[in-house]
């Protein structure tokens, strides 16, 4: 959920950016990174750990931890926390939905 009122900061949540996540339409705002917009849309499970396939979320959100990699417009392993959201972006998670655990 977006912060509505803040004693210090003013957020300009006006210009909508439309994108898809796993083919589902979603809306973010101008200035959002892909990661921020996904978080606001309720996405918490960003990737799976490499060996044990445990769910991972954003951990650092500034490009250090590597937990938020996704496929963006066909490019694999994009740091979603550092990449600005653009109109019509096609974001696909690299989570293996067929895992049996």
């Amino acid at each position: 959920m977006r912060v509505k009122e803040h004693p210090i900061l003013n957020f300009n949540h006006q210009n909508e950016i439309h994108f898809t996540y796993n083919e589902k339409p979603m809306v973010g705002y101008e200035g959002d990174t892909i990661g921020a917009a996904l978080y606001d849309n309720g996405i918490r499970h960003f990737s799976d750990s490499v060996v044990h396939k445990r769910p991972r979320g954003l951990y650092c959100a500034i490009g250090n931890c590597g937990s938020c990699y996704m496929q963006v417009n066909g490019v694999e392993n994009v740091k979603t926390c550092m990449t600005l959201l653009e109109d019509d972006m096609r974001v696909i998670s690299e989570v293996d939905e067929d895992k049996d655990d």
Binding site: M1, R2, V3, K4, E5, H6, P7, I8, L9, F11, H13, G31, D32, T33, A36, Y39, D40, R44, H45, F46, S49, R54, P55, R56, G57, L58, Y59, C60, A61, I62, G63, N64, C65, C81, M82, L84
Partner: protein
């Protein structure tokens, strides 16, 4: 190959400050920043800084970032090249750097390099500590203060150092409930002025308490806390459950040392400074000629000291290559005095001790 007098890696308080002084001395500078804007972690700091007027005390962090960025206005593109969305992926001992930006790799050949890469957040060891919903304090600040998104319904903070206390307060400002702050030690780590403000607002700070286990399927649902004795051992039977969708980990930072390790700089492990730091001279030069380091990457401290270190570093890089800063000698004395003042007193003891150890090894 692009030739430059100075390449600075990192556009936070240290890197920006170094750039300004080096430019004033006449160097041609390239500043490399990984994010899409300059300012480093200052851009999400909404609190007013301590220190003295010389380091912009009483000014909010994001406003300090604006000041430092504005200081770089007025230099031509030939003098100052700023690369945003650019990651320095390699630094070699001959001061060749590989920079990745927008799908392309570029090579820079620098006469000198300043590494001002800052730090990354530490994680705490407990069961299921990788569940989504468990975030570093910096991530919470990013989500909340840059993008204006509430990280969750309620937050439990782990760690009562200044960052933990300040971020807890910022959560309240963003309209998010802070259920409690857990502190493994028997005392509150941060300044009492911050802790008192939180206590007045009804946030409990539980000392001798840590998180034992996180519980949840796809994401965090609750945590199990446990009491610790004076020797930091768990007290059996003291476990308690707390429902929460967000756990914020604020247990310190460690220097982002990788580029320097790659360049063959001699590194030393100093716990007071947060981990691996470069061995350096009093001129901030590492063991590789004309490779300098400043800010959190040389030891975890405050943004105020990172700015002062950055300025000294810029000056030293200029001096060593024969560039004369118009006000060099006086500036050097002033800056060294500022650092001494910042590191005075009980709050500076840890950093003084750490820096002494770097000198001794």
């Amino acid at each position: 190959m692009i030739n430059r007098d100075l390449v600075i890696v990192g556009g936070g308080p240290a890197g920006l400050s170094a750039a300004k002084v080096a430019l004033d001395a006449g160097m041609k500078v390239t500043l490399i920043e990984r994010f899409n804007q300059l300012g480093g972690q200052l851009i999400k700091q909404t609190h007013k800084f301590f220190g003295s007027k010389l380091q912009y005390a009483k000014t909010r962090g994001f406003d300090i970032a604006k000041i430092l960025i504005d200081d770089l206005n007025g230099f031509s593109h030939d003098q100052l090249e700023i690369l945003l969305d650019a990651t320095c992926v390699a630094l070699y001992p001959d001061k060749v750097l590989t920079v990745y930006q927008y799908g392309k790799y570029m090579k820079y050949n620098a006469k000198s390099v300043i590494v001002a890469t800052g730090a990354s957040e530490k994680i705490l060891a407990f069961e299921n500590n990788d569940l989504p919903g468990i975030y570093g304090a910096g991530a919470i600040q990013t989500i909340m203060n840059i993008y204006g998104i509430q990280p969750g319904k309620e937050v439990v903070m782990v760690g009562s150092g200044n960052i933990g206390l300040i971020v807890a307060y910022q959560l309240l400002q963003a309209g998010v409930k802070v259920s409690a702050i857990l502190e493994a030690a028997s005392y509150i780590g941060g300044y009492l002025v911050h802790a008192s403000k939180l206590k007045r607002l009804g946030v409990d700070i539980l000392t001798n308490t840590t998180v034992k286990k996180a519980v949840g399927e796809e994401k965090l649902e609750k945590i199990i806390t446990v009491k610790l004795d004076e020797k930091w051992q768990e007290i059996p039977g003291s476990e308690a459950e707390m429902d929460t969708d967000v756990l914020c980990i604020s247990v310190g930072l460690s220097p982002l040392h990788q580029l320097m390790s790659m360049a063959g700089v001699k590194m030393v492990d100093i716990s007071e400074l947060g981990g691996l730091v470069p061995k350096k001279t009093c001129d901030y030069e590492t063991t590789v000629d004309n490779v300098y380091a400043c800010g959190d990457v040389t030891g975890i401290e405050e943004a105020s000291s990172a700015m002062v270190e950055g300025r000294i570093c810029g000056l030293m890089a200029a001096n060593h290559l024969g560039f004369k800063h118009p006000n060099g000698e006086q500036l050097e004395d002033d800056l060294n005095n500022q650092l001494c003042v910042l590191r005075q007193g009980p709050c500076g003891e840890k950093i003084r001790c750490g820096l002494k150890k770097v000198g001794e090894i």
